[in-house]
């Protein structure tokens, strides 16, 4: 998967934030691939692991701010899964920080770009 970043984006928050980033003509690395989901809570372990299996450099799960999830608990439940995934990565001696949950609101395009840059930095640091 030539080192793509896969980002699962909640359609209530991260997805519109990414759109706003576009409207403001901000820039982020081209290897980002956004998959739109109805809520971060829809993202399952298998989706994340499949991305790594296919060679993704990193996986981002992006949902609403803590306490502002449209479905109350979607973002917190997925955060747990992402944590578990961190452990799994460590177990296979990969950098656990390459899968991460980010929280943002739809009116936060800079936070979106900041998150992508952060994960890009982590990829560099982990030497991939």
């Amino acid at each position: 998967m030539n080192n793509c970043i896969v980002a699962f984006c909640c359609e209530h928050s991260a997805y519109p934030a990414a759109d706003l980033a576009g409207k403001l003509k901000l820039h982020y690395p081209e290897n980002l691939r956004i998959i739109r989901v109805p809520c971060a809570g829809r993202v399952d372990l298998i989706h994340i692991l499949k991305a790594f299996e296919k060679g993704a450099a990193a996986v981002m799960v992006m949902g609403c701010e803590g306490g502002a999830c449209h479905h109350m608990t979607g973002n917190t439940r997925t955060k747990e899964r992402v944590k578990y995934c961190n452990l799994l990565l460590r177990e296979i001696e990969a950098d656990g920080r390459l899968v991460a949950m980010f929280n943002l609101s739809p009116n936060a395009p800079h936070k979106f770009v900041g998150a992508v840059n952060e994960i890009t930095k982590r990829i560099k640091e982990s030497g991939r």
């Binding site: 209530h12 519109p16 706003l20 609403c64 803590g66 502002a68 609101s105 009116n107 395009p109 936070k111």
Partner: protein, 427 residues
């Protein structure tokens, strides 16, 4: 039932007007949503998210959601760039004349490609995007900058537009609508801080208003001084600017909340920043807010007392003179940035609108409700008010007030319709 008498006109597409329109449309009523600007959303569409590690419940993110729903709702007709010219008739049968300004840029055709801005020869550009959160996200033309309005023959943007969305010829259009009821949701004006000359707004580049700060965060994603672009580390908020004084005998409801939340955000981005809030009384009542205050009162310096004067020192710092009431003496302190927490003032145009519609103004300049317990009803049957045009409110209260106005409008429409049917039956 006559179909038109079942339409409602909502005037003003801020968050309260949007809430009214959505509620009516979802109960099956056709809605005209009138907005004087080119874009909808009102003030709150330009606010930033104030979340730190968790949501701080500022409600700014509720707005884009509702805008999206409004734009795609089949039963809402948006009329942007439009204002009310005349009104006649009565409940169940109003006739409203609307003027739609000549739209230099046809919103339906503009696809926000930006080619026009590229070719526009002026500086700053006369044709530019409306702010990004606004919807429809289209370009707008500034008559004051455009060369055509200075008598020149420039035609570059019109030629450059791939969808032929730009036109200069034509006139403003008038159109007449028949509606059963009206909801007025024309919102507020932010208090003009220039009126408090001693605070230096407009004179000193680093004295900003709360609204400026919201928009800097939205635009830049972090706090930067507009003049120098550096991140300030020593910031003061001054509360009740344009609220609770001789001319404004009301509290604006929102300033303490947004000031504290913005302070929280500043501290989150930059834990070393020093934030001071000057206040009279802290309005910390409200869901979840007391806890928020508890959390921040350690990290933010709260000073009871309202500063009287701000001076800029030679080095560009701002010296604030204030009476620290708890110490009982006049103190001075310097800051890199002073934020005036401006309040909610009645809209300057409300006087004209009140006259056009025949509704009353209250003595503080907001639209008057029929009685203190009917805050949606006006002196005229069938005309309702919603949101901050009736008095200060935050976003959740504005939404609630908008929905309540929709509820009242729906009710009188159904009742007047069944009455009319009853009358016809008797004839």
């Amino acid at each position: 039932m006559n179909k038109e008498s079942n339409n409602v006109l909502v005037v003003g597409a801020g968050i309260s007007g949007i809430a009214s329109a959505l509620e009516l449309a979802n109960s099956g009523i056709n809605v005209y949503l009138l907005e004087k600007e080119a874009v909808i959303g009102g003030h709150s569409a330009s606010f930033c998210c104030k979340a730190t590690d968790v949501c701080s419940q500022c409600s700014a993110c509720v707005v884009p959601d509702k805008i999206k729903e409004t734009v795609s709702h089949p039963q809402i007709r948006l009329l942007t760039n439009s204002t009310i010219r005349r009104l006649s008739g009565e409940l169940g049968n109003f006739r409203v004349t609307i003027t739609q300004k000549l739209q230099y840029i046809d919103q339906e055709r503009c696809i926000a490609c930006g080619l026009c801005t590229e070719v526009c020869p002026t500086d700053p550009k006369a044709i530019h995007p409306s702010f990004a959160e606004a919807t429809p996200f289209s370009y707008v033309l500034d008559e004051e900058l455009c060369l055509r309005f200075k008598g020149e023959k420039c035609d570059l943007c019109r030629k450059g537009c791939p969808t032929k969305a730009i036109k200069f010829k034509g006139e403003s259009k008038e159109q007449e609508l028949s509606v059963g009821a009206l909801i007025v949701a024309t919102g507020f004006d932010v208090f003009d801080a220039r009126k408090k000359g001693s605070l230096g707004y407009g004179r000193y580049p680093n004295v900003l208003t709360g609204l400026d700060l919201e928009q800097i965060f939205t635009r830049e994603g972090c706090l930067k001084l507009p003049a120098s672009g550096v991140e300030p580390r020593n910031i003061a908020f001054i509360q009740c600017v344009g609220s609770r004084d001789e001319d404004h005998d009301y509290c604006s409801h929102v300033c303490c909340k947004y000031a504290m939340k913005l302070s929280g955000l500043i501290k989150y981005h930059n834990p070393d920043a020093r934030v001071t809030i000057f206040y009279i009384d802290l309005q910390t009542a409200g869901k979840g807010f007391a806890q928020f205050y508890e959390e921040y009162k350690e990290n933010i310096r709260f000073v009871r007392g309202v500063p009287v004067e701000i001076l800029q020192t030679a080095s560009g710092e701002l010296e604030v003179r204030f009476e620290d009431i708890s110490q009982g003496k006049v103190c001075r302190d310097t800051f890199e940035l002073v934020v005036l927490s401006v309040g909610i003032s009645p809209s300057k145009e409300s006087w004209d609108l009140a006259r056009t519609l025949g509704i009353n103004l209250s003595d503080n300049g907001f639209f008057a409700e029929r009685d203190s317990m009917n805050t949606n009803e006006t002196n005229i049957d069938g005309i309702f008010i919603a949101g901050t045009c009736q008095g200060p409110k935050d976003i959740p209260d504005s939404i609630a007030h908008g929905i309540a106005a929709a509820s009242k409008a729906r009710q009188v429409l159904t009742e007047s319709a069944s009455q009319r049917q009853g009358n016809q039956g008797r004839h």
